[in-house]
C-alpha cells in the first residue's frame, strides 16, 4: 500500500476530492497546513510594522491506497489541483507496511 500525500491550494479541495472519488478512493484525510515554497507569502502591515510571512495556507491531503491504485491517485490529484500557477503544490508517495480498520480489525487492502 502507499500513502499519497499532497499539498494543494485550499480552494481546490472539492475538485480533488471528486477526482479521487472517481478513481475509486473511498477515504482520505485533510489537514490545514502552511507551506513555504516558491510562492511568495503576503506582506502585512500592522501600525506600520511590516510582517512578511513566507508561509501561505495550504491543504494537505493524505490518501492510503493499494499499490495498484497509487499511480491513478497521483494523476487524479495532479490534474484536479492544477492551475498552472506557482504554488500549486506537491505530491509525495511513501510506502505503507500495514493498514488496519479500527472498527473491524481488518488489515491490508481490505482496511482501506
Amino acid at each position: 500500500m502507499k500513502l499519497v500525500t499532497a499539498f494543494i491550494r485550499p480552494f481546490k479541495i472539492d475538485e480533488v476530492r471528486d477526482a479521487l472519488t472517481e478513481v475509486g478512493v473511498s477515504g482520505l484525510t485533510v489537514t490545514e497546513v502552511q507551506g513555504m515554497g516558491r510562492q511568495k507569502g503576503q506582506r502585512e502591515f500592522y501600525r506600520g510594522a511590516e510582517y512578511a510571512s513566507s508561509l501561505v495556507p495550504k491543504t494537505k491531503i493524505e490518501v492510503v491506497c493499494p499499490d495498484a491504485l497509487a499511480a491513478r491517485v497521483v494523476e487524479a490529484i495532479q490534474v484536479a489541483a492544477n492551475t498552472g500557477g506557482i504554488g500549486d503544490g506537491k505530491i509525495f508517495v511513501v510506502p505503507v507496511e500495514q493498514a488496519i480498520r479500527i472498527r473491524t480489525g481488518e488489515t491490508g487492502d481490505a482496511a482501506i
Binding site: 480552494f11 472539492d14 503576503q42 506582506r43 502585512e44 502591515f45 500592522y46
Partner: protein, 476 residues
Amino acid sequence: MKLRLGAAALLATLAAGAAFAQTPAPQPVPSPTIDKGDTAWMLVSSALVLMMSVPGLALFYGGLVRTKNMLSVLMQVFAIVSVAALVWVSWGYSLAFTEGSAFVGGLSKAFLRGVDATTQVATFSNGAYLPELVYVCFQMTFACITPALIVGAFAERVKFTGLMLFTVLWLTLVYFPIAHMVWYWDGPDAIANAALAGGDALATASGHAGYIFQLGALDFAGGTVVHINAGVAGLVGAIMLGRRVGYPREPMPPHSLVMTMIGASLLWIGWFGFNAGSNLEANGVAAVAFINTFVATAAAALSWMLVEQAVHGKPSMLGAVTGAVAGLVAVTPASGFAGPMGSIILGLIVSPICYLFVARLKPRFGYDDSLDVFGVHCVGGIVGALATGILVDPALGGQGIADYAAQPGTAQFAFPGYATQLWAQARAVLLTLVWSGVVSAILYFVIDKMVGLCASDEAQREGLDLSEHGERAYNF
C-alpha cells in the same frame, strides 16, 4: 421632524377649511421649551444607532463572510460610517433638512452654518423642542448606517476605493433627497400657527414639506428612507458587480455565527434608539415604538424558526437572528403608528416572505446578493411600509395619524381609510425603488469605469483582507 402628520389628514383639514379651525376657541400655540429628558433620550438614541453600525452591523455581516474577508467587511462599515458623518455635517444635513424644493433641501446650513448649542428644532408635539445639534447627531447616525447596509449585497468582492466613492455620491444623490422627501416638514407649531393664521397659510406651510410627506405616506423611522432605499441599491449592485468567484458552486458557510449573533443582538438593542428615538421625545409614544420594536422582532424571530422547522426539520440560530432583523426592518416604518398586537402580526408575517426571497427566489434568479440585503431589508421594508398603512388604524390598535391643524396647539389623531393610506404607502415605496434603483445603477456604472468596483478573481481567492487591506483578521 419625522413624519407623523399625514398629508391626507392635512388635506382633509384644509378642505374643512376655516370653519374647522374656528370651532374651538383658538388657543395660543404653546411657547417652545426644551425638556432635558428629551435631550437625554435623544443623545442616548444617537449613541444606540451608532452602535447599530459599529460594531452591530459590521459584526452581523462580518460573521457571515468567510474568514479571509472578515476585516474587509468590518473596514467597509467603519469607513462608511466615518465618511458619511463628515459628508453629513458638510452638506448632508442641509440637503435633507432645510427648505428647498419638494425633492431636496438647500445649502443654507452647509457645514452647519448657523447651527450651534442654542438653536432648536421642533419635535412632534406642539411647543416641544430639541437642541438642533441633538437632532443633527441623531439623523447623522441614520445617514451613517444606510450606506453601510448596502455593502452586504456585494460583500467579499467589492473594492474599497470604489465603495468609498460610491458612498459619497449615493448619499448625496439618493439618501439626502429621499430623506428630504419623506421627513422634511415645517413642524407642528408652524402648521398650528398657519392654521390659526387662516387663508392660504396652511397650504403654504404644508407645501414646504417633502414630496413623499405631501403624498401622505407614513414612515416612522425609515422603512423607505433606510431599508427599501439601501435594499434596492444593494440588489442593483449585486447584479452589476456580478457573482463572487466560486458562487454558487463552492460552499461559503458563515465563518463565525457567533459574531453574527452578537451583531444581531446589538442591532436589536440599538434599534430601540432608531425607532423609539425617532419619536424625538421621551413620552408614551416613544414607549409604543419601543414595545413594537421589541415584540415584532420577537415574533419574526419565532416565525423564521417555525419556517425552518417546517422546511428543514431544525430551527437554526442564523434563521432566528435573520428573522429578528427582518422583524426589525418591517416594524421600522410602523413602530410609532401600530399597536403591539399589530406589530406581532407584522413580525409573524414578514419572516416567511423574506425566507421565500432569500432561500427560494435568490437561487432561482441566480444573482449573488451575498448577505441578502435585498431579501431582508428591501423586501422586509416593503412589507413594513405597506403594513403601516393598515396597522396605523386606531380600530386595529394603531395610533392614528396626527393632525396639527384641526385644533391648533394640540395634535388630533385620525385615519383616512385603508385605500387612501395604502395607496400613499405604495407610491412612496415605488418612488423610492425607482429613484434609488436608477441612480444607484448609474453610479455603479460610472464608478466601475473610473476606478473599478469588483476585485479580481485572484484577489477574491486570496481574500479582500490581504488584497485590499494587507492584514489578517485572526492570527490564532
